[in-house]
């Protein structure tokens, strides 16, 4: 008789498009793995705040899991429970948001938020030719957002001719970003470019710009790699030249990593180490007109 495995997947509840994408990708990976291997069972849970997530992880542990794929609501709050899980012999894959101590996870797989901010800054400088006035539509006031914005500001500060007129929040939501952009457009008569910290926010802000028929804004770009935005880039929308990936599919990769690890298989045949690397940082990639097709997943929700 073959051994069966149970894997718990804990992610935040969808409070904006990206997290919605995470859930979609998690379900996709779960479905695909279950088709491939009937001995695998999964439980996917979503939480609205860190304490709820801790409670869910506890319940998963009681239910009995072999591996835990955890996208922590916040890093600090989930560290103790992840550590506890690991002590019980559960294989912990920590996704996207780090945990405080290395003893809390076996594998850390994440995007690079400060890197994303820096990359956005560099692209902004490049596209503007080092000169211009910009506004930033930032996200929910959280650690991730702060890291991105700080990274962005760090790069922009190296360009004395680029002025950040305002940094205001759009909460990573389309309608809120729309309203924020609408107001900023009234406040500033000349804006050269806009950076939205997220592709959902970008769509909202773009709508506001179009509606105001503002000619001064040369371009706007976001981050995330949402399919609508990738499509726009692919189709050569003049307003949206690029975006920077921060793929929600990282949850799917993490699930695969967890499966490989508990089955004691190498990551892929050509990978000569038997165990999984303990840290995997996904590079941020710039999506532009040339390479956009490779980032386009028409049936994804994000």
């Amino acid at each position: 008789q073959e051994k069966t495995y149970h894997i718990g997947v804990a992610v935040p509840a969808a409070d904006h498009g990206w997290t919605g994408g995470v859930i979609w990708w998690a379900q996709k990976a779960i479905r695909e793995w279950q088709e491939r291997d009937p001995n695998l069972t999964f439980t996917l849970v979503t939480a609205h705040n860190p304490s709820e997530q801790v409670a869910q992880v506890k319940t998963l542990m009681t239910k009995g899991i072999d591996a835990l794929v955890l996208l922590p609501h916040e890093s600090g709050p989930l560290t103790p429970i992840a550590e506890e899980a690991r002590k019980k012999g559960i294989f912990v894959v920590c996704v996207d948001r780090g945990l405080l101590r290395e003893t809390a996870y076996d594998v850390y797989l994440a995007g690079d938020n400060p890197g994303l901010g820096r990359m956005a800054g560099e692209q902004m400088a490049k596209l503007l030719g080092g000169k211009g006035k910009i506004v930033v539509i930032e996200g929910l006031p959280t650690q991730i957002n702060t890291e991105r914005v700080e990274g962005f500001k760090e790069i922009i500060s190296q360009y004395p001719d680029i002025e950040i007129l305002a940094i205001q929040t759009g909460y990573w939501q389309r309608d809120k970003s729309f309203a924020t952009m609408q107001t900023l457009l009234q406040k500033f008569d000349r804006i050269d470019a806009v950076w939205a910290g997220d592709d959902d926010a970008l769509l909202g802000a773009l709508q506001a710009i179009k509606l105001a028929k503002r000619q001064d804004i040369k371009f706007i770009f976001g981050a995330g790699g949402m399919k609508e935005v990738v499509k726009m880039i692919m189709d050569g929308d003049p307003m949206v030249p690029i975006t920077i990936t921060y793929p929600p599919s990282m949850i799917a990769s993490s699930i695969s990593v967890a499966v490989k690890a508990i089955k004691n298989e190498p990551l892929f045949p050509e990978f000569y180490q038997n165990s999984i690397p303990s840290k995997i940082i996904l590079a941020c990639e710039v999506v532009n007109r040339e390479n956009a097709a490779r980032y386009y997943f028409p049936d994804s929700v994000y």
């Binding site: 509840a13 969808a14 919605g20 930032e138 006031p141 389309r174 924020t180 107001t183 009234q186």
Partner: protein
């Protein structure tokens, strides 16, 4: 103690500029002057239009909430119902594309669904006698979940971009949502303040027993109040979904319930029923929008926006010095 209650109500054209009723106008004026003096762009006509625009979709929902609250109940489900009805409209629209009447057809369908859902919620409260708070907390959870399920956690995207005309279009320089808001407001005002039904809403909310003694069908009145809330949500869902030509199953409508109730309460509607007015609610929504607009205009730090907002709201209410628990 209600000893110092004002003795006669201002009627008809008699206007007491300093009476309780007009405090909100003063609040709006003061906020505007403040914003304008720091950032002159605030006073641009376009910005004022934007404020009204941003008020429109919450405003219409808040009008619905006013009916429910005047009747002594509460509706927490409006936010997730907005997403649900919005999703339904987009689905219907996409199905009907090519028939030529896909936009009116989808809207009519959505409005029907909105009214039906409101009505059902009403029945839950009146016939099955579930306390309004819990009944609508339940439906809030259910509508959101069904929406997520229908969209698989993603979004509903309309296939016809011309649908955005409703949310983004203008008529003689006035955004269509603003026109809808005003028309809806006037209709609601007539209904609440000038028809027997409106009168009955007040009676039911203020004193259910008296209403019953006066041969008013209390359950029917309250159920209809919820149906009106459903209608308002549907109208708002049309605006929201057409504005962005899509509906996000996870975020559309998030927190609308709190905004709508807050607007109504700021406008003088009592949570315990029997008091409230459409004008008050409309002004309440505008106050909230002005605050939002102002925070961006004055470039207040995102971390401190909540403090500024909280302080302004409390101060605005303080200026009215009214109390109903």
């Amino acid at each position: 103690m209600s000893d110092e209650v004002q003795v006669s109500r201002s009627r008809g054209l008699q206007i007491h500029l300093f009476s309780e009723k007009y405090v909100l106008l003063w609040v709006i004026l003061i906020l505007s002057v403040l914003s304008a003096s720091i950032s002159p762009a605030f006073l641009k006509l376009q910005n004022l239009m934007n404020i009204l625009w941003q008020s429109s979709f919450i405003g219409i929902i808040a009008i619905g909430a006013t009916f429910v609250m005047v009747a002594g109940a509460i509706d927490l489900s409006v936010g997730s119902l907005t997403a649900f009805v919005g999703g339904i409209i987009v689905i219907a629209l996409n199905r009907l594309v090519g028939t030529g009447f896909h936009i009116p057809g989808a809207i009519a369908f959505g409005v029907g669904v909105g009214i039906a859902m409101g009505y059902l919620t009403g029945l839950l409260v009146t016939k099955l006698r579930v306390v309004p708070f819990i009944a609508t907390l339940g439906t809030m959870s259910i509508f959101r979940s069904l929406t997520l399920y229908l969209a698989n956690g993603g979004e509903f995207r309309s296939l016809d971009w011309s649908y955005t005309v409703i949310g983004m279009g203008e008529l003689a320089g006035v955004p269509i949502p603003v026109i809808l808001f005003l028309v809806y407001g006037v209709a609601a005002w007539i209904l609440l303040h000038n028809t027997p039904f409106g009168r009955h809403l007040y009676a039911v909310g203020a004193n259910e027993r008296s209403a019953r003694y006066a041969a008013i069908d209390v359950d029917r009145v309250r159920t209809l109040a919820y149906a009106l809330s459903g209608l308002s949500v549907a109208v708002s869902a049309v605006i929201v979904s057409s504005m962005l030509n899509s509906v996000s199953s996870s975020t559309t409508g998030l927190g609308f319930e709190l905004d709508a109730i807050a607007a109504a309460v700021i406008g003088g509607t009592s949570l315990s029923g029997g008091r409230g007015s459409i004008l008050g609610t409309v002004l309440g929504v505008i106050v909230l929008s002005i605050i939002g607009n102002m925070l961006v205009m004055l470039n207040v730090s995102v971390y401190l926006q909540g403090t500024v907002k909280g302080v302004i709201i409390v101060t605005a209410i303080l200026a009215q010095r009214r109390r109903t628990s």
